[in-house]
């Protein structure tokens, strides 16, 4: 008598299909950077922000002498880019894939090109070019030199060697790669409308996931958001940032700076900030972000110096 069939939990992951699935493309990039560069694979920062660069894994970790390799997806909020789900390319919420490698490895370009090959871009079938594009974020007191990477004339990645962050020289320099995931996927999947992207291999499209969000959030960003409440939020974030700074918890202060930055973007989308006021708001956000970065760097410096004698901020 044969033994009763025994339940054996088994899982053999299906091969990834980055050319036909948005999420497989992301998972492939995770596999790649985890395996090839020893990156920590982080989850998105749980705050609304305008770019992956705002993630503390990028801004704050770009400071100091310690090596740091990380990769993550960061949802980006660009309230003024919302088009109520009616534009095939423009979204008020989209994904960036960000890789930060500190210090920048000497084969970083080769690694990057290999990652493109991994998600299905053959450099002999597609024209890949590195076109000068320097990056600067006055808000973060940061700048770097690098390129936008073109694939058949389309910008698919921003590639930057950070030179300064928070007003401090990067010592050492970090290499930052920011992939525009939707664009890349549209290219690889050969679709002209972002909502037609296959999100996975089981028939779920990008539109199934996000179209309604885009409609509602565009309406809220442009028409609904209570501007008094937003002004209030801005003031509160600013105050809280100062509070956190004076308490010596710069990471918390930095979060409030990120919050203020996003609230400012919402106010912009609502069209309630005049040209004259705009500059002053931007200066306020910049001041918060820079103060937080400075406080963070200063707080960390003794520890960094203990590990790296002779290193100075």
């Amino acid at each position: 008598m044969s033994a009763a069939p025994k339940f054996t939990p088994q899982f053999a992951p299906a091969p990834r299909d980055p050319a036909r699935s948005f999420q497989d493309m992301i998972l492939t990039l995770h596999d790649f950077w985890s395996h090839e560069a020893g990156c920590v694979i982080l989850q998105p920062y749980d705050m609304r922000m305008g770019a992956g660069t705002f993630h503390t894994a990028t801004t704050l970790r770009a400071l100091g002498p310690e090596p740091w390799n990380a990769a993550f997806v960061q949802p980006c909020r660009r309230p003024t880019d919302g088009r109520y789900g009616e534009n095939p390319n423009r979204l008020q919420h989209y994904y960036q894939y960000q890789v930060i490698l500190k210090p920048s490895p000497s084969d970083i370009q080769e690694l990057y090109l290999k990652s493109l090959a991994a998600i299905g871009i053959d450099p002999l079938a597609h024209d890949i070019r590195f076109v000068e594009d320097d990056w600067e974020s006055p808000t973060l007191g940061a700048w770097g030199l690098g390129w936008e990477v073109w694939c058949d004339g389309m910008e698919v990645t921003q590639f930057t060697y950070f030179q300064q962050m928070g007003g401090f020289d990067c010592k050492p320099v970090a290499g930052e790669l920011t992939y525009g995931l939707e664009r890349l996927a549209m290219y690889i999947q050969g679709v002209d409308n972002v909502y037609d992207l296959a999100f996975n291999s089981s028939g779920v499209s990008y539109g199934d996931v996000f179209l309604e969000n885009e409609r509602q959030m565009s309406k809220w960003n442009f028409e609904v958001a209570n501007t008094d409440a937003l002004f209030d939020l801005f003031a509160k974030a600013e105050a809280e940032c100062r509070n956190a700074l004076s308490a010596g918890v710069p990471i918390a202060a930095y979060e409030q700076a990120v919050e203020a930055s996003h609230v400012f973007n919402l106010l912009q989308a609502r069209g309630v900030i005049s040209v004259q006021e705009r500059a002053s708001y931007m200066a306020r956000v910049r001041d918060l972000a820079r103060s937080s970065c400075e406080a963070y760097a200063e707080k960390m410096t003794p520890g960094w110096q203990a590990k790296y004698p002779g290193w100075v901020l």
Partner: protein, 743 residues
């Protein structure tokens, strides 16, 4: 003799930096060689996106031996001085050479191997390289002292003939290997020597010569267009940029949706050019075609894949552009113009709407003052001109708030013109909106349509006066508001259209609304500063036409002349005159007279009068009535009048108390005939006649200096002759200030 190859390989160098980097490398290398006493037969530099390289041919294998002599202390100087010197040069007292009581140290320096010199030179060149922007990278950047380069430097080839010149910088060691094309070649490329460099890389799919890549792109793009039955729109800037983006350029032609051709062709071309670096094409009729040429850096295994990718990107860009175009057309220019009140023109000069209002008033004033005239002198035509100027000026900046100009600022004006035409505004208005920024720089077309001239001139005059009023005149190399260009444009508009008016009048009209500002212009001498500024610009602007700057000065120095058309006519006549023998001699006579007057204390016409002349004036002058009560010469104390009175006195050196010498008499007579003729001719703007009148003085002046002693022993004679010379000088000054003329 040996040939040397240097290659500095790095990650992609920005295209715009490559041409200059190539030159800098050649220059730095040649300088370093010269410093070491070496000369190459030839030096040629190369740039591709991933390398800077240089080949120096026919280098000597070693530098020449030299003997260096160092001067030491005097013989008999204190022993400490001698000891110090010996220590410095590393010799003993016996080895010094004595000459003329001074010790010299002579050190023989043997020749050095060129390879050794190069080993030192290469790192020095790398460290000193003048990149416009450079960066740090990698683990070494833990210190800010680490090597800087335009992008990470990854390899150095240094070969003298077939031998590696050893050198090292920040851990990068020289060798003989490089990399070929990023995708068409894998693995290192070994270079035997300088002679093999170009071809070894060609075999690895890298075209080293920048000019060869340019040629491949230019010809390839032309051919691709021709094969499609089209003509490429030539664009050398794009050729160079694409040559800086490719090591193996492959131009490919693609098509975009014909429906996009609704959008103005300039927009399509700009979208393709600026955003994508694509060429555009025209059909047989010279119309923009729905085709583009992109330049790939690979020979793709399937060209249509690459072309199709590029087409999609362009299509997305063009649909944005078409969206902007359609959005903009939904709003009339008048409504766009209202939004200008939200844009600051300059913090001290209000909004763009404020500027537009000023421009509108000034443009209308130019028509009312008949400075800008209608093409036909009828009341109806004049009314039409007035109305057209009114709307063109009101809408000239409206496109600044349109989506399209927001995206492509360089389309300002052009888009306004399109929108005006689409809106059904008169064609003169649309053209004036389109062209009112013109002329932009020298060589640009100068508008001639009256509406355009009025708006363009008003726009620039407003900019100039306003920035001068807030003390933002250009200084040195700083001209943030491009005022020099604006002034050159004003001059070009005036001269190109023969506009007759006093600049001062127009500049005051530009601020006439506001009395305070008027005062500021008047008393703050902004007008003088502006006049001088214009004089300088005129000199620059006329230099190309071969007009002498000193002659412009000579006419400007007369003061009060700011009708540029008249001024330039006078300058032209003057230039013709001083080129003749009469002119040369008259100038010599003038200078002689002016020197004597200066030496004898005679001052310029506006200076303090000579006391002797005043004395003679006191005795018998019928120009100033004597009322008995007031001393008429009290007026002489008025500095403004003194010069006039003195000049009056000089102008009539009659009633001589002695018999003049024949040559003296001849000059008196010649002057009496010529001076009024010259003055009259100037008045009537017959400048050639004025010059002819002056020319008639030449023989009398020459003879006077030959035969008459100015500095006669008798005070009376001396004074009279000085007065005569002063009268001659003044007559000449009625035409131009000859003291400003060089030569």
């Amino acid at each position: 003799m040996a040939d040397f190859l240097l290659e500095l390989r790095c990650e992609e160098i920005p295209a715009r930096m490559q041409p200059k980097a190539k030159e800098d490398l050649a220059r730095l290398f040649a300088d370093a060689l010269a410093k070491a006493g070496l000369t190459a037969g030839s030096v040629e530099a190369f740039a591709t996106p991933r390398r800077l390289a240089l080949i120096a041919k026919d280098l000597p294998l070693a530098t020449e031996a030299v003997s260096e002599e160092t001067k030491g202390p005097k013989v008999g100087a204190p022993p400490q001085a001698l000891d110090g010197f010996l220590r410095k040069v590393g010799l003993t007292a016996e080895q010094l050479v004595e000459r003329d009581g001074v010790y010299f140290a002579v050190v023989e320096k043997p020749g050095r191997d060129t390879a050794a010199v190069l080993s030192e030179t290469i790192p020095a060149i790398i460290r000193a390289f003048p990149w416009p922007k450079s960066m740090r990278w990698g683990a070494a950047s833990l210190s800010t002292e680490s090597l800087r380069w335009v992008r990470p430097l990854s390899g150095i080839i240094a070969l003298l003939d077939d031998a590696v010149v050893p050198c090292e910088i920040d851990g990068i060691v020289s060798g003989r290997t490089t990399m070929g094309h990023r995708f068409h070649h894998s693995g290192p490329v070994e270079i035997a020597d300088a002679a093999a460099y170009i071809e070894s890389l060609r075999a690895a799919h890298v075209i080293v010569h920048f000019s060869e890549r340019c040629r491949l792109i230019r010809e390839g793009a032309e051919r691709a267009a021709a094969e499609a039955g089209l003509t490429l729109v030539a664009d050398e800037g794009l050729v160079i940029e694409n040559a800086g983006l490719t090591e193996w350029p492959v131009p490919l032609l693609g098509r975009f949706d014909e429906a996009f051709l609704d959008v103005p062709p300039e927009v399509i071309q700009l979208t393709a050019r600026v955003n994508q670096k694509y060429f555009v094409c025209e059909d047989g009729a010279g119309k923009l075609a729905n085709a583009f040429v992109c330049t790939a850096n690979i020979e793709p295994n399937n060209a249509s894949v690459v072309v199709d990718g590029n087409r999609k990107v362009l299509a997305a860009r063009l649909s944005d552009a078409r969206f902007f175009w359609q959005q903009d057309l939904k709003t009339p220019l008048a409504v766009h113009a209202e939004k200008l009140s939200r844009i600051t023109f300059h913090e001290k000069l209000g909004t763009v709407a404020d500027k537009v209002e000023r421009v509108r008033k000034l443009a209308l004033w130019l028509v009312e003052a008949e400075i800008v005239k209608p093409v036909e002198d009828s009341p109806q035509v004049k009314t039409t001109l007035y109305n057209n100027v009114q709307s063109a000026a009101a809408f000239c900046k409206a496109d600044l708030v349109t989506e399209m100009v927001g995206e492509f600022p360089e389309l300002q004006g052009l888009m306004g013109g399109y929108y005006a035409a689409k809106e059904g505004l008169p064609v003169e208005v649309a053209e004036a909106i389109r062209d009112h920024y013109k002329p932009v720089g020298q060589g640009d077309d100068v508008p001639t349509a009256p509406v355009t001239v009025a708006v363009s001139l008003a726009d620039k005059l407003d900019t100039l006066t306003r920035f001068f009023l807030i003390d933002e005149a250009p200084t040195g190399s700083k001209d943030p508001f491009a005022l020099r260009r604006a002034a050159i444009a004003v001059i070009a508009l005036i001269l190109g259209n023969g506009l007759r008016f006093r600049l001062e009048g127009a500049l005051l009209a530009a601020v006439s609304d506001d009395l305070d500002e008027f005062e500021q212009v008047w008393h703050g001498h902004t007008d003088k500063k502006l006049a001088n500024f214009f004089a300088d610009r005129l000199k620059v602007q006329q230099r190309e036409a071969g007009v002498r700057h000193d002659l412009i000065d000579a006419v400007f120095a007369l003061g009060g002349e700011d009708d540029l058309v008249r001024l330039l006519a006078r300058v032209h006549a003057l230039q013709a005159f001083v080129g003749t023998e009469d002119g040369v001699n008259l100038l010599a006579g003038y200078k002689r007279a002016a020197n004597i007057l200066k030496k004898e204390g005679y001052e310029g016409p506006s200076g303090a009068p000579d006391p002797a002349v005043l004395a003679s004036l006191k005795e018998g002058n019928d120009d100033i009535p004597d009322t008995g009560e007031e001393d008429p010469l009290a007026m002489v104390d008025d500095p403004d009048l003194a010069g006039i009175l003195a000049a009056e006195a000089r102008r009539s050196p009659s009633g001589l108390s002695y018999t003049p010498e024949p040559a003296e008499q001849a000059l008196i007579e010649a002057l009496a005939a010529a001076a009024p003729r010259a003055a009259e001719a100037v008045e009537a703007e017959r400048f050639a006649d004025a010059m002819a009148a002056l020319a008639s003085l030449r023989s009398a002046v020459d003879r006077f200096f030959e035969e008459v002693t100015v500095n006669a022993p008798e005070a009376e004679k001396r004074q009279a002759r000085l007065a005569l010379l002063a009268a001659f000088r003044d007559a000449v000054h009625r035409v131009a200030d000859f003291s400003r003329i060089e030569g």
